[in-house]
Symmetry: C2
């Protein structure tokens, strides 16, 4: 399969996941969406699971590129840009729809080691980028010097993950979740307001 065909199939997978969710993702639907024969899809992917793994690789590359593209400005500006990238969305936009599908996928992880390993790589790249930004902020004196970058980054990954889940499960507004988490960062990480916790 040439690269264009592969990319077209993965883009079709994205659209099918947005519309039907993971439970109703089928190779037939992807074939229809990509305007290809079912046989041509089966020729390259032996199962829905195999395609999902490939699809998550594709999404991971995009996600990593997005996180790495946040490199202008001060660490504080980078942290805001990162939180904006990972937390905000348009209500009816594809971001929110793919997040719903990803939450379904996350619930499958305990039954599938390859899937859990891949989801862990999304978790890790977010953690790494946050740790780098926090460490740089401390180095430059913009962040509170007593903050431990790894512990703070890990806690932020947990809070961001919780924001994504509450967004889907209880329909919590993404703007309010963004405010909640930036407020935490402002009060806990930045050097000028280091002691006002959760206020």
């Amino acid at each position: 399969m040439d690269d264009d065909t592969a990319t077209e199939i993965l883009k079709a997978t994205y659209r099918v996941l947005c519309v039907h969710g993971y439970a109703d993702l089928t190779l037939e639907r992807i074939a229809d969406e990509a305007d290809r024969s079912k046989a041509s899809i089966y020729h390259h992917y032996d199962s829905k699971e195999g395609l999902l793994i490939e699809f998550l690789d594709f999404l991971y590359d995009q996600y990593t590129a997005q996180l790495l593209s946040i490199d202008g400005g001060t660490p504080r500006e980078q942290l805001y840009a990162l939180l904006d990238t990972v937390l905000t969305d348009e209500d009816a936009g594809p971001d929110q729809e793919i997040r719903i599908a990803l939450l379904e996928v996350k619930a499958q992880a305990p039954y599938n080691d390859a899937l859990q390993t891949q989801l862990a790589s999304f978790d890790e790249v977010l953690f790494d980028r946050l740790r780098e930004i926090i460490a740089a902020g401390i180095e430059m004196g913009e962040f509170d010097a007593t903050v431990k970058p790894a512990a703070a980054a890990d806690f932020l990954v947990t809070a961001i993950t919780g924001a994504h889940t509450r967004r889907v499960a209880v329909g919590y507004s993404s703007e309010k979740l963004y405010e909640m988490i930036t407020r935490y960062a402002e009060r806990q990480l930045f050097a000028d307001e280091p002691s006002e916790a959760a206020h």
Copy 2:
């Protein structure tokens, strides 16, 4: 249907969800598990969705009772007890299995208003209990007086939700997640260490 029959069906639903997950929950499997005829289940529930709503009511009552039973000791002790209740589990125990099934259910919420309303009630009862404990801790001088109970409780619900999702999606240890969140509470909420954030 008498109460015993209803409870037996709901307990069977719990066991089927733990073993098969939500995607593979069927009224047939519940009938087998409850040792009843499929017709007797269909007599009371017209669909898998109807049974799920009833099941979540049953789970909500248990969850509320569990959260309300935390009432001894000081607010700080109550907060630890609450975090222990909602965050720790035995690796192979039913708690973890039902949480996996609940994550699947959460991914269905955007497509089902009744479901999202019910999931919001779980979110709210946790928020209310946390806010009460934090407000009592401030009143008694055990918690930092500058903490805002509602904002701190809301942020904690987000972090706890994130801990549940990371536990399932990437297999993060529940003990480490418990430590991460209690460390946040210790450093941010308690009056004796109010200014050491995420360290």
